[in-house]
Symmetry: C2
Subunit: 128 residues, 2 copies
């Protein structure tokens, strides 16, 4: 149940539905885009890892532009509506283990509702 | 709030996040795909109509394969996790008006959790 649910709604089709932006604006675009940061391959990786982790009723979906391009690469996880920034396979491993398996949050990578730019700990260089 | 939410989660970024499958399996594929039924143009239509309806914090997103291909064209609306089949602009108009604006449901087009094929009233011919 969510605030927008009705009592007669069917039960969820996917336990968790993860949308990984794979939008590509092409070269020279004014805004960045997730595919230019490698999100297509990273989405394939996440999908394989989620399957390997036995998350049978979790869908790792490709999506078009989620429109938070300056915070990319981005992911939105529903029904909870939690958003993450990620850069690396290790980031995705952490989201799978902590969020999808344990039901907790990866605070370092989470996006807040009003956030317009990445926090220092979210920049790719911070992981190196 | 949803069953999967934590009290510390940020408030929703989008009031409603609509995912319209625009996957194209190409010619001769074993399973049908939404793009082959016109979903890309229909998604553009829905996006424009939602904007025209003044639904400012609703995102009409393209998505990859939602994996309910036999029920396509398909849409999933989060956080409530309600799924619809649609064929026409009129179907999308009804979803915008009844679901997104009024918070009700378009029963005729809704997909149930266990559904594996379209109901008679959901077939395109039923609308003609």
């Amino acid at each position: 149940m969510t605030d927008r649910s009705l009592p007669t709604d069917p039960k969820p089709y996917y336990e968790a539905h993860v949308f990984v932006c794979t939008n590509d604006r092409g070269e020279g675009a004014k805004r960045p885009s997730c595919a230019r940061r490698g999100s297509e391959k990273l989405r394939d990786y996440m999908k394989a890892q989620a399957r390997a982790a036995g998350l049978a009723n979790v869908r790792i979906n490709a999506s078009g532009c989620l429109d938070r391009c300056e915070l990319g690469c981005t992911i939105a996880i529903y029904p909870e509506g939690v958003w993450y920034h990620y850069d690396t396979r290790a980031d995705l491993d952490e989201i799978i283990e902590t969020h999808l398996k344990q039901g907790k949050r990866v605070e370092r990578l989470m996006l807040t509702t009003e956030q317009e730019e990445l926090r220092p700990e979210q920049l790719a260089e911070a992981a190196e």
